[in-house]
């Protein structure tokens, strides 16, 4: 695995002892980790582990009940231009009048009132972003007509065009076939290295990200462990995180996390029942 020192630098994101309770349930329990400038970080965990809530906290859409989030050393705020975001759900009717280039253009100035004034600089910037994500061939197609992988590219360009220092992607691989998923991972890794943009990508499967991750944040039942992949993805760390015994198997260059028999550690955990092979 890549070492943590590969992209060392100032921390772009610091999540420090964050707790979130929603409707009497603790969604996040004392989550702490940091992301260095230009680092590629995988946020791994099963559905319901708290990944989306954590993203909402980082984006300033959800206030933590305790703890704090710093972006480039400052308390995070709404409309933080340093953060680019690619959401998980993106549903648009196939006939919606919005071309890929329109959506990318909205990344420049959607928060401003009125219409955008067409300018050569703006057009050139949109074109450059479309090229950066290999989306020029479908730039004039309706976004609703594009495949999942193509939509991801357009959304990444939409996020990148405002020149963020941190890119958050919520489960971008969830609805993609294996090949499209690998293309997206390769694209993100290239952007991260070339433009020194930190990437925080959530996924329930860590294997597609193993070759490119500088650091992993592993979440289970609202708690998180972070560090270099080979330090975090171990029987000891993950058993502690899940509160029951799990085995970490290395199979060729894949990693399998397998839950032990229920009751091994005494503490029954609802979220864990659905996870036999975790990743």
């Amino acid at each position: 695995m890549n070492g943590t020192q590969s992209a060392a630098g100032r921390e772009i994101l610091e999540v420090d002892g964050v707790w979130v309770g929603l409707g009497g349930r603790e969604i996040l329990r004392d989550v702490s980790f940091s992301v260095g400038a230009g680092e590629f970080t995988g946020l791994i965990g099963a559905n319901g582990a708290g990944k989306t809530t954590l993203f909402r906290v980082i984006l300033g859409l959800q206030s933590p009940s305790a703890g704090r989030v710093l972006v480039a050393g400052r308390p995070r705020s709404r409309r933080n231009p340093l953060i680019g975001y690619v959401p998980q759900k993106f549903l648009l009717d196939p006939d919606a009048p919005l071309r890929a280039r329109d959506l990318v253009g909205l990344g420049v100035d959607a928060h401003r009132l009125g219409f955008s004034r067409p300018s050569r600089a703006r057009t050139a910037l949109v074109e450059e972003m479309l090229e950066a994500v290999d989306a020029t061939s479908f730039a004039d197609a309706r976004v609703g007509n594009l495949s999942g992988g193509e939509q991801q590219r357009v959304l990444i360009a939409h996020a990148l065009i405002s020149q963020p220092r941190l890119l958050l992607l919520d489960e971008p691989l969830a609805n993609l076939d294996l090949a499209s998923g690998q293309e997206i991972v390769a694209l993100l890794s290239r952007i991260s290295r070339e433009q020194r943009i930190a990437v925080l990508i959530s996924a329930h499967e860590m294997n597609p990200l193993l070759p490119v991750m500088d650091r992993i944040v592993y979440m289970a039942a609202g708690r998180a462990a972070s560090g270099a992949t080979d330090q975090v993805v171990t029987t000891e760390v993950l058993s502690d995180l899940y509160g029951r015994h799990v085995d970490v198997l290395h199979l060729h260059d894949r990693v399998l996390v397998i839950a032990g028999a229920p009751g091994d550690h005494g503490s029954a955990n609802g979220a864990l029942e659905s996870i036999e092979i975790v990743s």
Binding site: L59, P97, A110, L113, G114, H158
Partner: protein, 305 residues
Amino acid sequence: MNRFLSPVFAPGFFESSTIHTALAVGGLVAVASGVVGVFTVLRGQSFAGHAFGDVETTGGSGAYLVGIGPLWGFLIAGLAGAAAMEAIGVQRARGRDLATGIVLGAALGLAALFLYLSTTASSTTGATVTVLFGSIFAVSSSTIPLVIVLSAVSVAIIAVLYRPLLLSSVSSELAAARGIPVRVVGALYLLSLAVAVALAAITIGAILSTALLIGPAATALRLTKSPGRAILTAGLLGVATTCIGIVLAYDSFHWPPAGHGWPVSFFVVALVLFFYLLAGLPELLRARAAKTDHTTRRATAEMAA
């Protein structure tokens, strides 16, 4: 009258002040409906648009009962409806359609009562037809200034909010992540929708208002790919539909049954459907051509084998 124009424009068309008023009001209303309608379609809120039609039917019929102009009735009910929808969170929770349906049923029931009371009082059926199906030829020219103001308001809301509204209509998550106050933007859009439906209600009636709101927008979506062009196309289509509808309705005074013109609303709604189907024709032909092509190729392949 020019001999080329006379088969289209019946005598007196260009001199009639009723026609002048109808064209002015109809044109303004069509622009507002078309522009707002593109966002209604984009946001998947056709049902909300129709809900305003129902609620404003009650307002329009109430207006007859208390003796104020129907446009005021449509408008007041529309604004109250917008406030109610915002309060119960129609825009956020899709599961609110049961509550909405029951409220709409009650609103139309109330409209039935109001219309019954005002028709028994004045012993005409005019109010019922005007409220439900519109009568643009009965609109007084003194209404024009109010129509100008209201169409300007509803279009101005869309124009000022254009970029944040477009992004939050495409994805509220993307918009929220950019710090756009999605809820405020949504509420202001609802206001614009309420006004546009009130305007459509005076031209083609509260019940039919959805046709003018959704029809040109849906047709524009078939014809264009970018949001700006869709808005422009929807506005122009709305104006064309309304103007042709007025011309045909004027001509229809000479059609059977003689002396009774056909309602403008009928023509507008028929034209809306016609243009929508016409815009879908190229797609249909392309699909058919592709199918024929495949069949031919398969037949050729089978023959070769």
